[in-house]
Each structure stands twice: as structure tokens, then as C-alpha cells.
Amino acid sequence: MIQFFNVTKIYKGDIYALKDITVKIDKGEFVFLVGPSGAGKTTFIRLLFREELPTKGQILIAGRSITRLRSKEIPFLRRNIGVVFQDFRLLPDRTVYENVAFALQVLEVPPKEIKARVEEVLAQVGLSGRAHLFPHQLSGGEQQRTAIARAIVNRPRILVADEPTGNLDPATSREIISLLLDINRLGTTVIMATHAWDIVNSLKKRVIALDKGRLVRDDKEGVYGYEA
């Protein structure tokens, strides 16, 4: 479903963020993207939803090259990819409900459908009772759940999360990851960049390890470790 072919990303100033990455992620997989800070995890994710273009190489999603997309087509790629960030990126002046509904409003989904889908997804992430609170009234975990709800409300085939637990305590992190696993079980491909090695080790999911822009490990049921 997702294929990187010899992808290299060089930022301005000769910074090699990714070097010659070739990797294939199948439909429905759950993948951890691990590596120390500066390894290229965020770059990997930004290439995926076409926030950046690779300097060299090809990226295919569902068999289509996303590097050759015209700028008009980019929004339609992104409708198939949900994104979650470490810092949640919620709109502070809108409620949980409004934050999630916003993602559908800007896609011109009819209001009736928006209501049904937002309620459904809020139930899925366990925030039904919190719909009318503002972000500052929520715990970090609840904020991240809201962000996840927003990312999946349009039912994307792929969900990418860039250190979604980076700002959360271990217990809350575990809850967030178990939510992502639930979403994965319903068929969504999930790619999660993380530092939380204890969780990675215990879950026995596929681990792609990056270090200084190179792919250093790709284990089907891996444990965390880029030093190996």
C-alpha cells in the first residue's frame, strides 16, 4: 500500500534527513517508526502526506506516485491520510465537537452527516461525554483523543502519528496506543513515530528503525533498538 523506493531527503544546507530509504508497508499494518531525535522520523511522515517532496526516489501510495501529484490533487491524497501530532494542534476557541466537525466542514460534508459521524467517532475514542468542553478543559490524553478523532472522522485508510504520546505520561500513553491499535484493528493502516520503547517492546508489532536518516532495522515483530 505504501512504498518508498530509494528515498533521499536533503534539506537546505546539505542536511541529509533521509538517506536511500526503501520500505514497503502493507494495507492494515501497524508500524512503529523509531529512532533517536533527528533520525528522520518526522521527515518520513511529512513525505508521506506530501508536506515535503523527496529529493530523490519515489513514494507510491496505493500504487500511485505521490511525488508526481499536481498541487490540485494533494488535498485528495490527504483526505486518505489522517495525521496526529505530539502537540495535538486543536483549535483553542472551539469545543471538542467543533474541532472534530471542522475536519468535515472544510470538506463540504452535509451537516446531518457531520453530526452523525462526529458523534460516532467521539464514542469510538471515548469522549462522548466531553463533546462540549474546550481543549483547555481537557487532560492531555483527552486532547490527544480529540486530535485522533479529528484525524479519523473522515475515515482515512492511513493514520500517521508523529510522537503522539510525547507529551503524555506512561499510563495515558498506553491508553492512546491502545486506541490506535483499536483503530488499526478496524482496518486502518497505522504508522506511529515514537520514543516510548517500553510500549514498542511489549507490543510485538513491526518496527522500522531510523538512525541519522538511514533505515537501520526493519523487524516484523520487533523490539525497540536503533543501536543494533
Binding site: P75, R78, F102, A103, E108, P111, R150
Partner: protein, 294 residues
């Protein structure tokens, strides 16, 4: 885009105008001032053109005879001129009549004192031509007739007027150019502020796959409104100002021909409104161009 979406765009645009009320007012005002001056210059140029044209078509040639020319020769010349091609009519103004006119202007006493009782004026002939455009050619022929001292047909006035017109144009283009740049920049700053205020929202819109036009439209509308309001104010003030000014000028300077063609006036006003819309659209598109490159 769906109708509901347009409702959303307009709401966002007005909300943003309201949030940045002072900037919006400033940008609108500057657009209005620029366009008003543009409109005033256009009308000024049109009027100078109009006056020059009117003067030209009213022009007559004054043919001054030598002071010692006998009346009989003057009359003979009049007949000769009337037979020339291109000449419509000729009127002889005898020196006595010329003196009377002068006396009216200067006052009888002073004139007598200055001239010592002797009429210093020559007879002169007023020649009207059939085609004002060829007045120069006719004047040249008249110049070569015997006993003709000097030929004067006011071309100098028209030429000076046209030269003034040229300068007015250069000046106008310069001033309006500078004002246009200033108001475009103010408008762009306003839109940038609006974009900046909503940068998080824009970011999220891009992540969830909103199209660029979906993101652009509210800002484009906002700029369009600022421009339209500016253009509207300029057009209104210009219409009102021009009508009341021409009314006043007609009362005091009744001999001055002025352009009172309402079609021209209305097109100018309409042009200003259109110009405002253009400034608004161009300014906002330029302002958001950079922010949408993700």
C-alpha cells in the same frame, strides 16, 4: 462549491473584517483616496481635452492690417478673403470700434491720456473657417496677403493647454501609481493579518485535505469587500463632488465649457468601483499566495 459553503465563506470574510475592523477601515479608506484621486484626474484630463476641443472649434483668425491701410483697401481685402477656399465668413472690425472696445475695458479718460487723442489701432478682420483643424493653413494664406501686418488665431492658447494636459497626465500617473502601491500594500497587510490570525485553522484545513480554493475564498472575499467599499466611496464622492463643482463653476465661470456628459461620469464611477474590486482581489491573492504553499 455548494451554496452552504458560500455562506461559510461570507461569514468567515465578515468575521475577519470585523475582527480587524480598524485595519479594514484604514485599507478601505486608502483605496478610496487613491481611486478618488484617480477619478478626479480622469475627469480633469477629460475636461481639459474637452475645453481644448471647444476652444479649437470656436477659433477665429484675427487679421491685423497695417495702421496706414485705407478703409477702401480693407473692404477690398474682406471681399478677397471671403472668396478664398476654406473661409466661412469675414467680419471687418474698424479701428473706431476697436477703440470703443478698448475704452470700455480701460476707461475713457485713461485711454485718451495714453493715446493723446490719436487712434493707434489698426483695422482688423475676424475670419471664421469652415474646418477648425485646417485653421493653420488658412492663416498662412492670409498672412501673405498685401497690407496684412499680423495674423493671430489663438493656436498658442490651445497648444499651451494641450501641453498642460500632457503634464497633468504624467503627474497623475506618477501620483496615482504611488498611491496605488501604498493602498495595495495596506490591503495586503490587512489580509496578511487576517491570514495570520487564522494560521492554525489554515494549517489544519490543509492537513485534513481542504482544497486551496476553499482556504482562499474567505480571504479573497475579504479583500474584495475592502476594495469594493473603497471604490464605492470614491465613486460616490466623485459623482457628488463633480456635479456640485460643475454647478458652481457654471454660475461664476459661465463661459467655460465643461464636460457634462452623464454617461462618461457614470462610466468613470463604475470604473472606480471595478478598480476597487481589482485592487482587492489582486491584493488578497498576493497576500495569501505565500501562506498556502505547503
Amino acid at each position: 462549491m455548494r451554496l452552504r459553503t458560500w455562506g461559510y465563506f461570507f461569514r468567515q470574510a465578515f468575521l475577519s473584517l470585523w475582527r480587524n475592523a480598524w485595519m479594514s477601515v484604514a485599507a478601505s479608506t486608502s483605496v478610496a483616496v487613491t481611486l478618488f484621486i484617480l477619478g478626479a484626474f480622469i475627469l480633469l484630463v477629460l475636461n481639459i481635452n474637452f475645453i481644448a476641443l471647444a476652444l479649437q472649434s470656436n477659433l477665429e483668425i484675427a487679421v491685423f492690417l497695417r495702421v496706414d491701410t485705407p478703409r477702401s483697401q480693407a473692404l477690398a481685402l474682406k471681399q478677397q478673403m471671403e472668396s478664398l477656399p476654406g473661409v466661412k465668413e469675414v467680419e471687418l472690425v474698424p479701428k473706431e470700434q476697436g477703440l470703443k472696445i478698448l475704452a470700455q475695458q480701460l476707461g475713457e479718460e485713461e485711454l485718451l491720456e495714453a493715446t493723446g487723442g490719436v487712434n493707434p489701432l489698426p483695422d482688423y478682420l475676424r475670419v471664421r473657417v469652415e474646418d477648425p483643424a485646417r485653421i493653420g493653413e488658412v492663416a498662412a494664406i492670409l498672412q501673405n496677403l498685401p497690407a496684412v501686418e499680423k495674423v493671430n488665431y489663438g493656436q498658442a492658447v490651445v497648444e499651451r493647454l494641450l501641453a498642460v494636459l500632457r503634464w497633468v497626465r504624467y503627474l497623475g500617473v506618477g501620483i496615482i501609481g504611488m498611491l496605488a502601491v501604498a493602498s495595495l500594500m495596506l490591503l495586503m497587510i490587512t489580509i496578511r493579518l487576517a491570514v495570520y490570525a487564522r494560521r492554525r485553522e489554515i494549517n489544519i484545513m490543509k492537513y485534513v485535505g481542504a482544497t486551496d480554493w476553499f482556504i482562499r475564498w474567505p480571504f479573497l472575499l475579504e479583500g474584495l469587500f475592502i476594495g469594493l467599499i473603497g471604490g464605492g466611496i470614491a465613486a460616490g464622492v466623485l459623482l457628488w463632488g463633480y456635479t456640485s463643482l460643475t454647478y458652481k463653476i457654471k454660475l461664476s465661470l459661465f463661459f467655460l465649457p465643461l464636460l457634462e456628459d452623464n454617461t462618461v461620469l457614470h462610466y468613470t464611477a463604475l470604473g472606480l468601483v471595478g478598480g476597487g474590486a481589482c485592487v482587492g482581489a489582486v491584493g488578497s491573492l498576493l497576500a495569501i499566495h505565500r501562506f498556502l504553499k505547503v
